[in-house]
């Protein structure tokens, strides 16, 4: 199947280059934060000690972690501003907004996995799995930024909000470390599966690197968006049947 796609060479542009840069920056930031953060969390283990000592000691590890955290903050803020500006002013499609269909899609897909229905959910530009990950990164990111800044400036927090109880600092630490663990596990298990090991994309989902997605996968994974972009109706039985039909070489889409 993948072979045929490549021969046909029909691709649809899925991501604007700026979004690609954004993802790559976010990925690198995430890795640096994980390496410097998790070695602080498990400071007693020998591998953590190896990492910290090779970074030049605990102070260095913390400086790297905080600087990268600052970079992550900038990334997150610009993303939210760009996203809001795009949706509100430039009238982009709010394709990341979670709606009722995402929940029914999830249930439909579960039914399909269990063999109750014979068709998976028909998703739009982003399916419910992608939305789950996206909002996980955004909300988790904001939580990490807030708790991280609290831990970085423990005295300033009480100047900012004087009535806070003292335990806000250990609470921030608990939230920061637990949320980090959750984020890491979700990325390692869910994101890596969906973009590397899933049979749909194996050996690698290149969309975020090239910015393009094959027409074949587009029809298979985002049929609603395909229909909207091309104006053609895919009908009930899709993918295999429509692969020979001509489609636009490259269709630009919203970020």
């Amino acid at each position: 199947m993948i072979e045929i796609e490549k021969k046909n060479g029909e691709f649809i542009r899925r991501f604007h280059p700026l979004r690609i840069i954004e993802h790559q920056a976010n990925a690198i930031t995430f890795i640096v934060l994980v390496v410097t953060g998790i070695s602080q969390k498990f400071h007693n283990s020998s591998w953590a000690e190896w990492i910290i000592m090779n970074l030049g000691g605990i102070d260095n590890a913390r400086v790297i972690h905080r600087t990268t955290g600052l970079f992550f903050t900038v990334l997150t803020l610009q993303h939210m501003l760009t996203g809001s500006y795009g949706v509100i002013v430039k009238k982009w499609m709010p394709s990341m907004v979670i709606n009722l269909k995402d929940f029914t899609d999830a249930i439909d897909n579960l039914k399909y996995y269990f063999g109750i229905t014979d068709r998976p959910a028909r998703c739009d530009r982003y399916d419910y799995k992608q939305k789950f990950e996206y909002w996980g990164v955004v909300i988790g990111g904001i939580l990490m930024i807030l708790t991280g800044l609290t831990l970085w400036f423990p005295t300033k927090v009480f100047h900012l909000i004087p009535f806070l109880p003292g335990q806000i600092i250990p609470a921030a630490k608990a939230a920061h470390t637990n949320e980090a663990m959750l984020a890491l596990l979700v990325i390692v298990i869910w994101h890596i599966y969906n973009s590397v090991f899933s049979p749909d994309v194996f050996p690698l989902d290149t969309a975020i690197f090239t910015g393009k997605i094959s027409k074949e996968r587009m029809i298979h994974e985002h049929p609603l968006e395909y229909e909207r972009l091309t104006g053609e109706k895919l009908g009930d039985a899709h993918s295999e049947e429509v692969k020979a039909e001509p489609g636009p070489e490259e269709i630009s889409s919203a970020p």
């Binding site: 996995y113 005295t155 003292g166 335990q167 250990p170 608990a174 637990n178 869910w190 049979p199």
Partner: protein, 462 residues
């Protein structure tokens, strides 16, 4: 005549019984001696002095025979005494006779240098026989007793600065010391009855410091440790008040270092008076002084005995958690006082604990990170429960501000103490941990199940 016959018979007998004692055969004091002993082998014979003291005039022939003077005739020493003529001189007491009789020694033994010359010059009280004995004259062996011959009197060593230091030794103190089995020369190397090296010391302190060097000949391990100590470092820099071995352990009355803890603390007190007073008011000091509690730490438990390091150095600071945990992580010991042993672990898991642990590994720590003593006090460690608790807290915020300028009054509350966060003490922390401990496994199991279902569906479709 009779004696001579006896002598001849003896000679003949000894010829046949060669195994018999030769000393009897060569009866030393000769004819004159035999004459004197004719009377002086009577044990009843005695002389009474004016003060009523009695002196036995009995001379044991066997002690004469083993003496260094066995070939000297009686009148060789006892001038003016012969069979027919016995001096009529009267003596006040026994001692005056001894002193007078000792004068005879100088007929043969004149001293131009060495210990005898100096001693004879310095001491009126001590005479030859005091050390060497009278009839049983022996070369003095370097036994402790020989030294006491002089050193029990008020000898003193003069220093260049004009001061003097008594060389009188308290024999009882020495005999009850841990060194009771040692001979004087074991420590006072190079000293004997024959050799007393002439040494010039600037003053008494100089003398003490240099004499202390002798301890290392046996206690080399301790000596090496002291070389790394703060005290030695100060001494090197020229502060001669810095203690050397004998300042803490004593010189002749040396006691083992492992005596009552309070003794050990008092030794430090002699220089560190103010710190001792602070310590005495601390939870540890009070317990030691009022209840003789041997569980509590004294100075040397934290600062160590010989390799006392500078407590202002980072190495010392960063080791404080381990130091305190020697006792405070000891389950058995803490049970006695109802204290938690989780104090170390909870500290080490905290931000400060992690930092200090890494600073120790990195060996390049430049910042002072809060350790046990910063919150609990250094020498003035107080109880954290009961009436003192409020003082601890009040001091805490001041310590926090040293590193966290602008810390608000409730800033110490950010440390939720050495306990696992529970719902009562730290509800927020507890709840967050609880939520995540449920949410993370729930999320992961859900995602993994989805993945398995996805793969399964894919496999079935193929």
């Amino acid at each position: 005549m009779l004696n001579r016959i006896v002598l001849h018979i003896t000679l003949i007998l000894s010829f046949f019984f060669a195994a018999q004692s030769i000393s009897i055969a060569s009866y030393p004091p000769g004819e004159e001696g035999a004459l004197c002993l004719g009377c002086h082998n009577n044990k009843e014979m005695s002389l009474t002095f004016k003060n009523g003291e009695k002196l036995s005039l009995f001379v044991d022939d066997r002690s004469l025979m083993t003496s260094a003077h066995k070939n000297v005739s009686c009148s060789g020493c006892h001038k003016g005494f012969s069979l027919g003529d016995h001096s009529k001189r009267q003596f006040k007491n026994r001692r005056s006779l001894t002193v007078w009789a000792s004068d005879a020694c100088r007929q043969c033994h004149t001293f131009k240098k060495g210990i005898h010359l100096r001693m004879l010059g310095a001491l009126r009280e001590v005479v030859c026989v005091d050390c060497h004995g009278s009839h049983a004259i022996q070369p003095v062996k370097d036994s402790g007793d020989a030294c006491f011959g002089c050193h029990k009197y008020g000898l003193a060593i003069p220093f260049k600065d004009g001061s003097r230091h008594s060389l009188e030794i308290d024999e009882d103190a020495l005999k009850s010391s841990v060194h009771s089995k040692l001979r004087c020369a074991d420590c006072h190397f190079g000293f004997s009855s024959k050799e007393h090296p002439d040494r010039d010391f600037k003053d008494k302190r100089n003398f003490t410091i240099i004499t202390s060097e002798t301890c290392r000949r046996c206690h080399f391990d301790k000596y090496t440790k002291t070389l790394e100590s703060m005290h030695f470092n100060v001494l090197l820099k020229g502060n001669l008040k810095a203690p050397v071995c004998v300042d803490c352990h004593g010189a002749h009355g040396i006691k083992t270092g492992r005596t009552e803890k309070i003794e050990s603390a008092r030794r430090c007190k002699s220089c560190h008076e103010d710190i001792y007073q602070t310590y005495a008011m601390s939870v540890h000091g009070k317990s030691l002084i009022s209840m003789h509690n041997q569980d509590v730490p004294v100075c040397s438990d934290c600062h160590r005995a010989h390799d006392i390091s500078d407590p202002r150095m980072a190495d010392f600071r960063n080791n404080i958690p381990q130091m305190c945990s020697n006792c405070h992580a000891n389950e058995e010991l803490m049970k006695k006082y109802g204290l938690s042993t989780a104090v170390l672990q909870s500290y080490l898991e905290d931000f400060h604990g992690v930092t200090v642990s890494y600073y120790k590994k990195q060996k390049n720590a430049i910042r002072h990170i809060a350790v046990c003593t910063d919150c609990h006090g250094i020498h003035d460690i107080t109880r954290t429960k009961g009436p003192d608790a409020s003082i601890v807290k009040a001091n805490l915020v001041r310590r926090c501000r040293k590193c966290h300028p602008g810390a608000s009054d409730n800033f110490p509350d950010t440390w939720i103490s050495h306990y696992e966060p529970n719902f009562k003490r730290a509800p927020l922390v507890y709840t967050i941990n609880l939520i995540y401990s449920i949410f993370i496994p729930f999320m992961i199991v859900g995602l993994v199940l989805q993945i398995i279902l996805h793969i399964w569906r894919y496999a079935v479709n193929r």
